[in-house]
């Protein structure tokens, strides 16, 4: 057993309202720079939709993630030799158009324009070339709220029946906020010929060493989630840093902090690093079970002993015990990894969305028959869609979670209305009353200190002199281009 600690974020999709507050706070702190305008380390997509960059889930196009071959894991894209032969022109790299050409508006024209018969307008210009843009044809949320669904949402790879998005009676959508998953088996790290990407041992955060990166660009396509970006100005790769300057001092990430829906939870998971590869060799539909298996119980004395040997401190073990993430991912098993079949073992987990609570029949009488909430099979969002997104196609795992959510709502509704509670409802969903109350608290009223349990790294005691002035993205030295 080789126990390591990982900081993990859980997203409750049932509560995400798609307001993009997370994206904006992230952008303001980290990517409001030349060359990084097009990057959204945190972005929110509408599902069904093609996302950002467009069609990122389609690995035939970008060749991201890992595949199994002869009982071993192998990068889908290129082996080491072919990587070196393709350094000059990276065949799978996403291009600017796959994201969008970043733009801003020339507001100075509003007061600088000469007198004329027309009202002056703030014209759009490209933040790359600086040239005026006649027409903006793409953006980071171009298919937000199913806009242009006949062009975008119908191409969602998770959608078995694409006619769903053209039928108003059966249409559905939910939001999918995404950050870097800080995977246990990161394909970006494995693909880097400079070895600039690495996983921090202490908290599992995956980072790009800006000094070592030489801009070979293999990480940008190797990441199946397309969460490593190429800065066209500095010529180096950049990615979500899990706000490590904040988490090191116990504050939660900027995206999570600004979340108005309070959908995010951050906490510690302990995992067995020796069993990661073995787990990832399982077939697609067993991958969620394998994920859960690799995650260890922080109360188990054997696990604690082994964790201490790896330098996990008592403070971190205590945080792991209280971790809301452990409760959601393992204890209640309601949170699922995004596309586990990419085999990077992502460490961001999603509670599948129950909404919209309208049956696919669209008939309110039918709803009432089943006690306000529809039957699982009658939900608008097809279980096959959620399973394709979150469980490697295993519909039973998704169904079990939705059953828990429905049972929880029926239980709390009965409680609020002073009605008798049928015990079988909770029991059939695999919950008990204490568990249901804990889950209810986590889903709804848990305050900051319960949603985010982040132990500090006590860096101030370790190497304060060396760290002075280096927190953040650390571009203090001269880089190419304008200041």
């Amino acid at each position: 057993m080789n126990v390591r600690a990982q900081l993990v974020m859980v997203f409750n999709l049932d509560k995400c309202i798609g307001c993009h507050a997370c994206s904006i706070s992230c952008k303001n702190i980290w990517t409001d720079r030349k060359g990084a305008e097009y990057m959204w380390w945190n972005n929110v997509e509408t599902k069904p939709g093609v996302g950002y960059p467009k069609k990122w889930e389609n690995q035939d196009k970008f060749k991201g993630g890992w595949v199994r071959e002869n009982g071993k894991l192998k990068l889908r894209a290129l082996g080491k030799g072919p990587t070196l032969l393709n350094m000059f022109f990276q065949p799978d790299m996403p291009k600017l158009d796959d994201y969008y050409e970043p733009f801003d508006f020339d507001y100075s024209n509003l007061y600088k324009a000469p007198p004329g018969s027309d009202q002056p307008v703030a014209e759009a210009f490209s933040q790359v070339s600086g040239e005026r843009m006649e027409e903006i044809t793409n953006g980071p949320n171009w298919d937000d709220d199913l806009s242009g669904s006949q062009v975008y949402a119908v191409n969602d790879v998770n959608l078995k029946d694409s006619s769903l998005v053209s039928d108003y009676g059966r249409m559905f959508m939910h939001y999918l906020p995404r950050i870097c998953n800080h995977c246990l088996n990161p394909a970006c790290v494995a693909s880097c010929p400079s070895r600039a990407l690495y996983k921090r041992g202490e908290d599992g955060v995956v980072l790009v060493d800006q000094d070592v990166c030489k801009g070979w660009r293999f990480c940008t396509s190797a990441c199946p989630y397309k969460k490593v970006y190429f800065n066209w100005q500095s010529g180096k790769a950049e990615k979500c840093i899990f706000c490590f300057p904040r988490t090191e001092s116990g504050q939660c990430n900027a995206c999570a902090h600004s979340c108005v829906g309070r959908i995010r939870h951050v906490g510690v998971l302990l995992y067995d690093a020796d069993r990661v590869e073995e787990a990832l060799l399982k077939p697609d539909d067993q991958l969620v079970a394998a994920h859960r298996d690799v995650i260890l119980d922080p109360r188990d004395p054997q696990v604690r002993e082994s964790a201490r040997k790896n330098g996990v401190t008592d403070q971190w073990l205590e945080a792991a015990e209280k971790s809301p993430v452990y409760a959601l991912v393992k204890e209640f098993a309601v949170a699922l990894p995004l596309h586990p079949e990419f085999r990077t073992m992502p460490m961001a987990y999603y509670i599948p969305s129950l909404s919209p609570v309208i049956s696919s029949g669209g008939d309110l009488h039918e709803l009432a028959d089943h006690g306000t909430f529809p039957l699982l099979e009658k939900m608008r969002a097809p279980i096959s869609f959620l399973a394709s997104l979150l469980s490697g196609g295993n519909e039973e795992i998704v169904a079990a979670i939705l059953r828990k959510q429905i049972a929880l709502r029926l239980f709390k509704r009965a409680g609020n209305l002073g009605q008798p509670i049928e015990e079988s409802i909770l029991k059939n969903a695999g919950l008990d009353e204490a568990g249901a109350n804990k889950l209810y608290r986590l889903f709804t009223i848990a305050p900051y200190r319960e949603r985010f349990i982040i132990p500090t790294q006590q860096r101030e005691e370790q190497d304060p002199q060396q760290r002075k002035g280096t927190s953040g993205f650390g571009i203090l030295k001269k880089t190419r281009g304008p200041k």
């Binding site: 790359v128 400079s194 041992g201 000094d211 070592v212 801009g215 066209w232 190497d463």
Partner: protein
């Protein structure tokens, strides 16, 4: 006078810059140590420029070095006329390949508006220098036949004389101007290497080839 400048001053100056500036740049600021790829902004023409350029110039460059490092075996190999013809033909083909790539890259910089923002004076200087270098190289290969043979008997001894700090420019003095231009360009490129994005050449993928795929960094270890 010109000969002394090209064949004594330039090589030593270039070498001095390479030896002293490169580590200085490496240790003082590696944030500018990048290949500065522009594939993200333009990829269609790049494919036809960057691949021919690198796959053309790298073997030709390697052959130049091989002659200096192992003149004996090379002389033995090229003493056979068949080998010489094959070697020369491949060399010329690769040279033309490189010229084609270099010109494509040059025109691409001219014709792509999106690239203006990431094109600096050093990019132009390098592209023109490399184009001049590969063009003069192809000229020498075409009009001064059997260069791979006489290179071993003139340029290689000259390089060795440089290494022993006893530069013998007599080896080079009687070559035509185009050839001297080729040499001067080469020294200029070496001199510019530590100041420009050419530092991306100084890369050995040893760790990539040997390390396990996932890299960890521990503060405590």
């Amino acid at each position: 006078m010109l000969n002394s400048f090209i064949f004594v001053v330039m090589p030593y100056a270039a070498l001095a810059l390479l030896i002293f500036v490169t580590p200085y740049r490496f240790y003082s600021n590696r944030l500018t140590w990048s290949a500065y790829s522009t594939q993200f902004l333009e990829r269609n023409v790049l494919f036809w420029g960057i691949n021919p350029w690198h796959y053309g110039i790298l073997p030709v460059l390697a052959a130049h070095f091989l002659g200096v490092i192992a003149p004996g075996p090379m002389k033995a190999l090229l003493g056979n006329q068949n080998n010489l013809i094959i070697f020369e033909s491949i060399g010329l083909a690769l040279g033309l390949f490189a010229v084609f790539g270099c010109l494509a890259l040059l025109l691409r910089r001219v014709n792509t508006p999106l690239l203006k923002q990431v094109t600096y004076a050093s990019d132009w200087v390098l592209l023109y220098l490399l184009a001049a270098q590969s063009l003069t190289g192809v000229y020498v290969a075409t009009f001064m036949r059997w260069g791979s043979q006489w290179y071993l008997h003139s340029v290689v001894p000259y390089f060795w004389s440089l290494a022993t700090f006893n530069p013998q420019i007599e080896y080079m003095a009687d070559f035509p101007l185009v050839f001297k231009l080729h040499a001067a360009c080469a020294f200029l490129i070496v001199a510019l290497l530590p100041f420009t994005k050419l530092v991306h050449m100084l890369y050995v993928p040893a760790r990539f080839l040997m390390d396990p795929p996932i890299l960890y960094r521990w503060r405590s270890k």
